[in-house]
Symmetry: C2
Subunit: 166 residues, 2 copies
Amino acid sequence: MASDGNESPIRLAAETWESLFRAQVAVMRRLQAGPAFRKVAINEYDVLFTLSRCPSGWLRLNELNDHVLLSQSSLSRLVERLEKRGLVVRMAAPDDGRGVLLKLTEEGSALQKEIGREHVRDISSLVGPALTAAEQRELQRLTEKLRHSVGARPAKELPGKYLAGK
Amino acid sequence: MASDGNESPIRLAAETWESLFRAQVAVMRRLQAGPAFRKVAINEYDVLFTLSRCPSGWLRLNELNDHVLLSQSSLSRLVERLEKRGLVVRMAAPDDGRGVLLKLTEEGSALQKEIGREHVRDISSLVGPALTAAEQRELQRLTEKLRHSVGARPAKELPGKYLAGK
DNA sequence: CGTCGATACATGCAAACGCATGAAAATCGG
DNA sequence: CCGATTTTCATGCGTTTGCATGTATCGACG
């Protein structure tokens, strides 16, 4: 009820985002309600997951911040809590005295794997029946393209002028 | 870097969601940083927007709750704040003594339109260059399909068994 | 080498959030 | 018609979040 085929590009982009956003909300609602997120909040799991995907095992706090939808200070405290729970360990960055490196502990890794398995099952039971394999691949392609175009780095500061003039 | 073409359907679904989620995070980051959300938080705007799209003008609080990624209590207080700021008005539902109806005030409607315009510009400057019109329409189609399959209603209670067995 | 701005992370504090619960109205079952 | 259950929204309370700021290090430049 909106893709007439010939509408303004601006409207089209807005409706595309609206649709993507609503779909994300709908899926996220179900996932959050699931049993997988009793032990860790979704943001916390996101951190554990990102760490688990990191090849070297160690990840800088600021890099982590690019992946997660959290302010720097909130991430700092979230990590603090994860450390207090024994799920991650902090370490001063060897090459940068300001930096902090993070790594999953054995326990953190185990918990991530455990929740990850549940999480993946939940997801596939939501996404699997909704779209064909080809559609899923296409959706993946399009969202990846969008994400890479938007870029991970939000250009930190520049309040109000990072958008092409006018 | 992951769509080999022949991977397990479970993995495919998980990666599709992962990709969708990351794209949403990346776009949302940029939008939140933009100048459009100085006056109202993103969740607050979402409420104003949803109300503006409501044909009758009036919307029940619980229906609103389906669209927004917030707990019932948080929405209740968010609306309370919006009312205190004169952006919406509450009214007891005529046919249901428990219910509360919401409507934008003149001021709320004006603010929604103002921010909406900015918001739409921001979005189109992010999404527009990223995907062709055809790709945007396809992305819209796929996300709508996903959303409708997932369904708006999370089936409130049933902790742990709303997922088809196994 | 000393100064100055930028970057990385931590922290004080007020605002916002979710969970558990409460009150009031609706609905269901005898 | 009445009591039990459910639904809808509000509220107390502890936790989490973001903004502003503080502290320390890095990098550039004279």
